[in-house]
């Protein structure tokens, strides 16, 4: 009984260690797995564990967004491309071991270690209870999005539009329209005589 009580009291801690560990294991798997499919599935493990961490931090809306966007869209896109291009384990699994890479590993480790002083210097602890039950709900986050952060929010629309256009331009084979709006062309031909001789057939 006492064990159960302590367990339930320490449940958030246990969950944290479980899912933090899972997310790191997933990331290590992405680094080490030769098979591309395994790497992508490990990535799913990582992003879903991170979503659980968000819930522990009472960021419910972000957790949902993380699951939908990362696990639901981005990793699925990766898997789709791996299938589409039929990448073999040999193709995707090669790793580079050179002196430069050893140096790079050193740099990565150095960055990781150098971030730790920052971590230690972090002043505040996580508060036990959310300040407000609506903290992190879609409503409160949405209010901020359309209030204080309106301009960044609108900017993301341009960002997504640009990414969409970029994707279409790169991936679609033939983007020349098969019909043209000829009255405009006729007027333009009159106006811009220099362009006439370069018309594509």
């Amino acid at each position: 009984m006492i064990i159960l009580q302590t367990l339930s009291a320490r449940l958030p801690d246990i969950l944290f260690y479980l899912f933090a560990g899972l997310s790191l294991i997933g990331a290590v798997q992405v680094l080490c797995r030769r098979n591309p499919m395994n790497a992508a599935v490990s990535m799913v493990v990582t992003v879903l564990s991170i979503a659980v961490l968000y819930i522990l931090l009472s960021a419910y809306f972000i957790a949902a967004a993380q699951m939908i966007v990362y696990a639901g869209a981005i990793v699925v896109l990766f898997i789709f491309v791996i299938m589409l291009l039929n990448l073999s384990a040999k193709e995707i699994g090669r790793r580079r071991y050179t002196l430069f890479k050893a140096f790079a590993a050193f740099v990565a480790a150095a960055v990781g270690v150098s971030l730790l002083p920052g971590v230690r210097g972090a002043p505040r602890a996580i508060s036990e209870q959310p300040i407000d039950p609506s903290f992190g709900s879609a409503k409160t986050v949405g209010r901020l999005l359309f209030g204080e952060f309106l301009l960044p929010f609108e900017l993301t629309s341009i960002l997504i539009l640009a990414a969409m256009v970029a994707g279409v331009v790169l991936a679609k084979r033939d983007i020349t329209p098969n019909r043209t709006f000829s009255p405009v062309d006729a007027i333009l031909d009159l106006l811009l005589k220099s362009d006439r001789k370069d018309k594509s057939p």
Partner: protein, 498 residues
């Protein structure tokens, strides 16, 4: 009752230069979808008009000294921002002017090109206006993502595909550093506004300095300073030449705005920023030395100009270090002036390459220019002006740009740095002169068949661009008063006079 979406007309007017470009981009996309036309010149004209409107708006605001914040302090429109609006719009206009004929030669003259350029430029303008970290990050993304696509715009060209991949990896890597840095800065200060960051340095210095370092590393990637420049020359070489022009100017100039603003406004409040100056000096030295040394052995013009643009980043870094050390707006004005001249002369040099590009082949090798002086004296003369200005020969703009920066650096007590800068400038003369020697003094290896210099890349746009840049390099070199006055006005808004 409070309105749900608290935005007023004044806010929208405040970000007019960026808004105008984004709307123009959408208009181009819609026009192309519903009224597709064979000729894409209408899109080009819309782009040019939109850029011109933003340019004049920036210039007008700069002269009238407008200084306000909009959207709850997310952006601040001060003279410094206006100066960058002017520089970025100018650089993008030059890049757009060089594009239409080249893209038609490559059979990829699509309206999407102009839309992507406009989205990217609107990102840049908001980037230089950002007063808040997340705004800065999103604007940076809006600026970079279209460029990844533009690099691969000649879609069946394997070089540009490879360049695009490499450029993406570099760019996204830099973004990763930057976001992590932004997260740490937010954690230390409790808010993303630049004005609140001093609080973070006081309350949790460990987080603050880790974050600041990571953000600065992200910026150094973006401006291709030397330890972070790995694939930049590849990207410059493989990209279609008009896109290279865009990358070497607008995409290069814009990160400087954010970097200067962060260094001076957000980090410069304490002496702590001076702790980073030795690192900056080291990076500036490395950038100048490596950029110029590697450029010496290049045979491909685009690649050489890529390395030379890395070297020019080094000179600009010298100017930034000097202005942080002196805390003087005069020194910062010299940086802005240098950026302005750099945009002009670099655009011109790429323009000449575009002028002689063929149907399916670029004219990029230095050997391809042999005999240009005899065959096409005008083009050779223009190229001569640009290269001499890039070298820093006296009456031209490039000389005064370097001269102002170096003199302020000496004033700041950075004499060793200036000695390195001058030595590397002399070194750069060798490879720039290689171009002039090839054009005027070398005999073609096969005298029977001298290289055919047909103006296949000729278009009215390109000629206008070349004339303007050549005129600008000479005129603003001899009469630097107007741009310098404007630059001082802009710099004074960031560093108030003591």
């Amino acid at each position: 009752m409070e309105s749900l979406i608290p935005v007023g007309l004044t806010d929208l007017q405040g970000v007019y230069p960026a808004l105008n470009l984004a709307v123009a981009g959408i208009v181009i996309l819609l026009l192309d979808a519903f009224f597709p036309m064979r000729s894409k010149l209408l899109s080009a004209w819309i782009t040019l008009i939109a850029l011109h409107l933003s340019f004049t708006c920036g210039l007008h605001r700069l002269t009238s000294g407008m200084d306000e914040t909009f959207f709850h302090g997310a952006v601040r429109m001060d003279p410094f921002t206006h100066a960058f609006t002017v520089i970025i719009c100018l650089a993008s206009t030059l890049a757009v002017l060089s594009a239409p004929k080249y893209l038609r030669l490559r059979d990829c003259h699509y309206a999407e090109y102009y839309a992507l350029i406009l989205f990217s430029v609107s990102g840049m303008l908001l980037f230089s206006a950002a007063e808040e970290l997340i705004m800065l990050f999103l604007a940076l993304e809006t600026m970079s993502i279209p460029v990844y696509c533009l690099v691969a715009f000649t879609r069946d060209n394997e070089y540009s595909t490879e360049a695009s991949m490499k450029y993406f990896v570099m760019g996204a890597f830099a973004t990763g550093f930057m976001v992590y840095g932004v997260a740490l800065l937010y954690g230390s200060a409790g808010s993303g506004y630049f004005a609140d960051l001093p609080r973070g340095a006081a309350s949790s210095p460990g987080l603050f300095y880790s974050g600041m370092t990571l953000v600065l590393i992200g910026f150094l990637f973006k401006i291709a300073a030397v330890p972070f420049n790995m694939w930049t020359p590849d990207a410059y070489e493989g990209a279609p030449t008009p896109v290279t022009t865009f990358m070497a100017e607008a995409v290069k100039a814009a990160p400087f705005s954010g970097m200067i603003k962060l260094l001076i406004v957000a980090f410069g409040f304490s002496q702590a920023v001076h702790l980073w100056m030795p690192a900056f000096i080291g990076i500036a030295i490395l950038t100048m030395v490596v950029g110029n040394m590697v450029a010496l052995v290049q045979t491909d013009m685009k690649r050489m100009l890529g390395y030379s643009s890395i070297a020019h980043s080094g000179y600009i870094l010298v100017g930034i270090v000097a202005s942080v050390k002196l805390n003087s707006s005069e020194a910062l004005a010299s940086v802005l002036y240098y950026l302005f001249i750099y945009v002009l002369m670099n655009a011109g040099a790429f323009g000449i390459l575009i002028l002689f590009s063929h149907k399916n082949k670029d004219t990029n090798a230095i050997d391809d220019l042999v005999g240009l002086g005899r065959e096409r004296p005008w083009a050779a003369a223009f190229m001569g002006i640009y290269t001499l200005s890039l070298t820093g020969i006296p009456p031209l703009g490039g000389f005064f740009g370097k001269f102002y920066i170096f003199s302020y650096a000496i004033k700041a007590g950075l004499t060793p740095l200036v000695i390195v800068a001058i030595l590397t400038s002399v070194m750069s003369a060798f490879y720039y002169l290689k171009i002039i020697v090839a054009m005027y003094f070398r005999e073609p290896s096969d005298p029977q068949h001298p290289a055919a210099f047909s103006y296949e890349g000729y278009s009215v746009f390109l000629i206008a661009m070349l004339c303007f840049t050549a005129f600008g390099v000479i005129y603003f070199g001899i009469f630097p008063k107007t741009p310098l006055t404007l630059a001082r006005l802009a710099a004074a808004s960031l560093i108030p006079a003591p």
